[in-house]
Each structure stands twice: as structure tokens, then as C-alpha cells.
């Protein structure tokens, strides 16, 4: 099984002051097999969105590489980059700010087609837009509508149609459903899964919501402050969460079962900014199992069998 997308020790530091750096993504290695879905989970500030933009080449990396179909996207030529762009797309979180309010649905969906000269003439382009609208379940009567005339679910369908316009192979879904209502959320998730089956798409699914990612992912990566702390197949991760942070995340999700939170499992403190972080485990300050040796040196992801990787000294 060879990955269609692979990152090697990917790092992105943002300068936030004189000689101070925010380690948004710090040495992340991921690999996504063709046709699979990788879930990237973490709280705000963990670098998951930055990671998504890095693998698409929308941001340049501080160091490390991303290979798409064997091509290093940071050092390839313009031609190769253009073809990568065509094969890699993104669906944004907020269907309200990701659509230009002054463009009609037709203009929005046809933009990628025009820009990449994917259709020979207008008639063909119109046919393709209509086809795409049909695919994502948008009625044709909306073709001249503007985004503000539509609700969140329909807007997100436009976003999906745009992403699919160039027949990509790989799509980064950056929290595609977190701005939507529950019933609409399920519609969009089902749509994404149907699209994947039909077109053999590969997804990188970024979210803060473990319950959403459980359904759609084959493999899940849990991130904390720019680093990957745990990686496992979806079922394995939910059955047997190893890293104390993953455990805390799972127990913090309010379940629709009457009762009160288990107070003893609550995490202390809050997520801090990864600005010039100290060596060692970045979660140590909030961890109930933290030991003195947790803050001595870098902690590597180690496999504990069953393709289950965890970066924690508890499992050494």
C-alpha cells in the first residue's frame, strides 16, 4: 500500500516577534493511501488547519517535504505544481466566508473550470456546472442565485461542487460540517462519503469533533500543539485510546445520555500557544500522568502493535 500523499518531518513556524516562533506544525509525518480517509483531530491551535494548507502548497513549509503521487510539491516546477493543484482541492469550514458574495452559483462553480481551461466552450462548461450541481444535490433553479440567498447546507454543497469541478483525486476537508446544524451535517457527511465511493477520492478530514471523524475515517491522527501524539486506525483508536490527551478528548464529548460529567476525568488548564515550546511532551502540563522525565527530551511516535502509534512515555 503506497500513499498518494506523504509528508516527511513537515514543519511550519510562524514568526510572532523578535526571535520568537510559533511552532504551528512541528515535525509531522503522515501518509494517506489512495481512496482512504485520514482524520486529523485536535483542538483550536493544534495546527491541523495549517497542516491542511501545507499539504496543498497553499502555505510554504519551514522545513520538511510533502510528496503528492511521488512529486515533491515544494520543489517541483510550475507545470507539475499546476497539475498537482488540479488534483488537490479543499473544502472550507465556513460556507459563509468561503464563497465570494458577489458571484452567482454558476460563476462560483465554473471558476475552477475557467481558470484551468477545463472546458472547451461555454456550452460545455454550462453542462459541467449543471452536472456538478446534480451530483451534489443542488436544484438547477439555483444556478443564478447568490450565496446569501441560500442556507448553510446548500452553501456547503456549492463548496463541495467547486472542489469536485476539476475531478480531483485528493481533497482536504477543513471542518466542512462544524458550522452546520446537526441534520444538515449528516446530509453533507453522507454526500462526502458517497462522492468518495463514486470517484475514488482520497480525503484528509480535519475536525475538532471526534464523533464526526469516527464515521468517515480509516485512520486518525490526533494532534496537540503542532505535534502528532497518536495515530491509529479508526476502530482501534476508539476502542483503545492510549495517549492521555486522546482519552481526555474522548471523555469530554458530551454524550446524549442523561447524567453528569465525570469530574475526575476532566482536563486541567487550557491549550497554550506553541510559541518556542519547551522540550519534551507538550501535553505534560495538563497531563495527570506527567512524570519528571516527560519534559526532558523529544518524545517520538512509537508503534505498540496493531499499527497503533503513540508518543507517550507511559508506553515505553
Amino acid at each position: 500500500m503506497s500513499g498518494i500523499l506523504k509528508t516527511v518531518d513537515l514543519k511550519k513556524y510562524f514568526k510572532v516577534g523578535r526571535n520568537r516562533f510559533l511552532h504551528a506544525v512541528d515535525g509531522v509525518n503522515i501518509e494517506i493511501a489512495e481512496g482512504a480517509t485520514l482524520g486529523v483531530v485536535g483542538e483550536s491551535g493544534c495546527g491541523k488547519s495549517t497542516l491542511g494548507r501545507l499539504v496543498l502548497g497553499l502555505l510554504s513549509a519551514t522545513s520538511g517535504e510533502t510528496y503528492y503521487d511521488g512529486v515533491n510539491i515544494y520543489s517541483c516546477g510550475r507545470e507539475e505544481m499546476a497539475s498537482c493543484r488540479r488534483n488537490m482541492q479543499i473544502i472550507f469550514q465556513d460556507p459563509y466566508s468561503s464563497l465570494n458574495p458577489r458571484m452567482s452559483v454558476y460563476e462560483l462553480i465554473s471558476e475552477p473550470l475557467v481558470m484551468n481551461r477545463a472546458c472547451e466552450n461555454r456550452k460545455e462548461r454550462l453542462a459541467r456546472v449543471v452536472e456538478l450541481m446534480e451530483t451534489v444535490g443542488l436544484a438547477q433553479r439555483f444556478i443564478n442565485s447568490y450565496p446569501h440567498e441560500m442556507d448553510g447546507g446548500r452553501r456547503q454543497r456549492i463548496g463541495v461542487a467547486r472542489a469536485l469541478a476539476l475531478k480531483p483525486q485528493f481533497i482536504v476537508c477543513d471542518e466542512p460540517v462544524s458550522a452546520l446544524d446537526v441534520s444538515i451535517q449528516a446530509q453533507i457527511l453522507n454526500l462526502l462519503m458517497d462522492m468518495q465511493e463514486e470517484m475514488k477520492l482520497t480525503y484528509m478530514f480535519i475536525t475538532h469533533d471526534l464523533s464526526v471523524v469516527k464515521h468517515i475515517s480509516n485512520e486518525i491522527v490526533v494532534m496537540y500543539l503542532g505535534q502528532c501524539v497518536e495515530r491509529a486506525e479508526s476502530k482501534e483508536l476508539f476502542k483503545n485510546p492510549k495517549h492521555p490527551y486522546t482519552q481526555a478528548l474522548l471523555s469530554a464529548i458530551p454524550q446524549p445520555i442523561p447524567g453528569r460529567f465525570q469530574r475526575d476525568k476532566l482536563l486541567r488548564g487550557e491549550v497554550s500557544d506553541p510559541i518556542d515550546p519547551e522540550p519534551g511532551c507538550r501535553f505534560a502540563k495538563r497531563c495527570r500522568h506527567s512524570m519528571p522525565k516527560c519534559s526532558t527530551g523529544p518524545i517520538k511516535l512509537k508503534e505498540g502493535g496493531n499499527k497503533h502509534f503513540v508518543a507517550c512515555l507511559l508506553y515505553d
Binding site: R85, S97, N100, E107, P112
Partner: protein, 301 residues
């Protein structure tokens, strides 16, 4: 591609009409609905007619020939509808012929200022970083010099003439518009749809034209329309100092300046040129507001 062609069967394509071409029509339709904007357009159209047919309305000679005997004739008497000024020149003739010069200075300075300032501001806002710093610091430096002083020194260097006043005012305006456009662009650049466009391979130039400018244009239009009146007054100030339009060439601002000494006894000498400037500024302002609303699909109907 055959599969796409197959899609355009009458069933799929029937009843499907794209409004693509009618964008301008759509804007015009919404503009028409706005009564105040239409009033502005009407006044402005009248002013433009006067500009174009000035020579047919009254001869240029009437506007500049002086008859000291006929000083300060009240409006409506002896064939002078707006009366005469301190040199006995017919005020209406001067207003009709002054319209060309005044509008040229007002509209010209603002339009060129916006064009150059807009490009600089858009580049600064869109690219950020060093480009931004370089442009904005330069503009701030220029802004430090008082507007009048800057204009005067440029006119002094180039020589006194209408065209040179225009150039000077344009240069003096650029920093202002750079600032406004940059602020408007910055508010747009942070939006996700800019990134979405980048992700589907849209080149930067197209992003600026298609995504940034249409969304940033509202405040710029409003600023520009109010600025025209101010520009006419500023040009008058320069004429007053003897650096701008040379007498006896008629120009609204210059007329105001000449008349201000007689304002108490012969108020009509200031009222008519003042009214002309005011009406021009008002009409443009009403049109500007209407245009801003008409361009925004969110305010549709």
C-alpha cells in the same frame, strides 16, 4: 466530451437560462429602483449637457468680455439671468463655460488619484510584507506635507496651467486613496474565498480583479464622489493664489474667490457658482451611494 454533451439534452438544459451577460443590466435595474440615485443621475446628466453644449447655450466671448459699466446687475434684469459680476461679466455665461474647467479638475484629479492610489493600495493590501511597508511608508511621508503646500510646490515647478494643476492635485490625492483602498482590500483578503480561489489555481491578477476589487469597491466609490466637490474648491484656492487657472478663464472655484469680497452686498455673485459646485457634488454623491448598493447583490430588491 461526449458524456457532458449528453447532459445537455433538452430535459437537462431546458428552462435553464444563465444571467451571466446581464450583470450590467442587473446593476442598472437595481440602480433604477433607487429614486435618490436616479435624481443624482438626472442632475449630473443636466450638468454634462451644459458641459457639452456650452458654446450653443452662450458664446464664450460673453463669458470673458468685461464691461465695467454693467457691474453688479441684479439677476433677471437686463437679460442677465444670473446677473453680472464685479467686472460686468454675465455670471450665467461664466458658469456655463466654467463647468468644463471645474469638472475637468474635479473629476480628473479624483479619477486619476483613485486609479493610481487604487493600484498601489491593492498591491499593498494584497501582497503585504515588504511591498506593503514600502508603499505605505512612502505614502505616509507624502501625506505629511500639507495638501495645499504640496500642490503649490508642484504647480510652481511645472508652471501655472490647468493641466499642471490637475497633475499636482492628482499626485497630492494618491496617498489618501492608497490608504482607503488598502484598508478596504485588507478586509477582503482575510476572507476564505480568496484562499478558495487560490486553491483552484486562480492567478493573483485575476483574484484582485474578480474577487478583491468588487468586494472592496463600496467605500471607495462613496469616498470618491464626495471628494469631487472638495477638489473643485481646492483648485479655486490655487487659482486665487495666482498659480492655477489664469483669469479671465471662467472656473467655478475662481468665481467664488473673486466674488467673496462682494458677498454681503451682492450675494448672488457667490450663490450661483456655489450652487453649481454643490449640485455637482450632490449629484455625484447620490449616484455613488446608489451605485454602491446596486453593485452589492446582498441588497438585491
Amino acid at each position: 466530451m461526449p458524456d457532458h454533451a449528453a447532459f445537455l439534452t433538452p430535459a437537462a438544459g431546458a428552462g435553464l437560462k444563465l444571467k451571466k451577460k446581464s450583470r450590467a443590466k442587473e446593476v442598472w435595474r437595481r440602480f433604477k429602483k433607487n429614486r435618490t440615485a436616479m435624481a443624482g443621475l438626472f442632475i449630473f446628466a443636466l450638468i454634462m449637457l451644459v458641459v457639452i453644449f456650452a458654446d450653443m447655450i452662450v458664446s464664450h466671448n460673453t463669458a470673458i468680455s468685461q464691461k465695467i459699466r454693467d457691474r453688479f446687475i441684479s439677476p433677471g434684469t437686463q437679460g442677465h439671468i444670473f446677473g453680472t459680476d464685479n467686472f460686468g461679466r454675465d455670471i450665467m455665461a461664466r458658469i456655463v463655460h466654467g463647468s468644463r474647467n471645474s469638472l475637468l479638475v474635479g473629476l480628473g484629479a479624483v479619477a486619476c488619484g483613485i486609479m493610481i492610489g487604487g493600484l498601489l493600495g491593492a498591491a499593498a493590501g494584497f501582497y503585504g510584507g515588504i511591498t506593503d511597508s514600502a508603499i505605505i511608508r512612502t505614502m505616509d511621508t507624502v501625506m505629511c506635507i500639507p495638501l495645499m503646500l504640496l500642490v503649490l510646490s508642484i504647480v510652481a515647478a511645472l508652471g501655472a496651467s490647468l493641466v499642471n494643476v490637475l497633475i499636482a492635485m492628482m499626485i497630492a490625492n494618491v496617498p489618501h486613496y492608497t490608504r482607503i483602498v488598502r484598508a478596504a482590500v485588507l478586509s477582503v483578503v482575510g476572507q476564505d474565498y480568496i484562499e478558495a480561489a487560490k486553491a483552484c489555481g486562480t492567478p493573483n491578477s485575476w483574484i484582485i480583479i474578480k474577487h478583491v476589487i468588487p468586494n472592496a469597491i463600496g467605500p471607495i466609490i462613496v469616498q470618491a464622489t464626495t471628494a469631487v466637490g472638495i477638489m473643485i474648491i481646492n483648485a479655486a484656492g490655487i487659482s486665487f493664489l495666482g498659480m492655477g487657472i489664469q483669469p479671465p478663464t471662467p472656473e467655478w472655484g475662481a468665481m467664488l474667490n473673486e466674488a467673496k469680497n462682494y458677498m454681503i452686498n451682492y450675494p448672488y455673485t457667490v450663490i450661483f457658482p456655489g450652487l453649481s459646485i454643490g449640485l455637482t457634488a450632490l449629484s455625484l454623491n447620490l449616484m455613488g451611494d446608489g451605485l454602491r448598493d446596486a453593485l452589492d447583490p446582498k441588497l438585491k430588491d
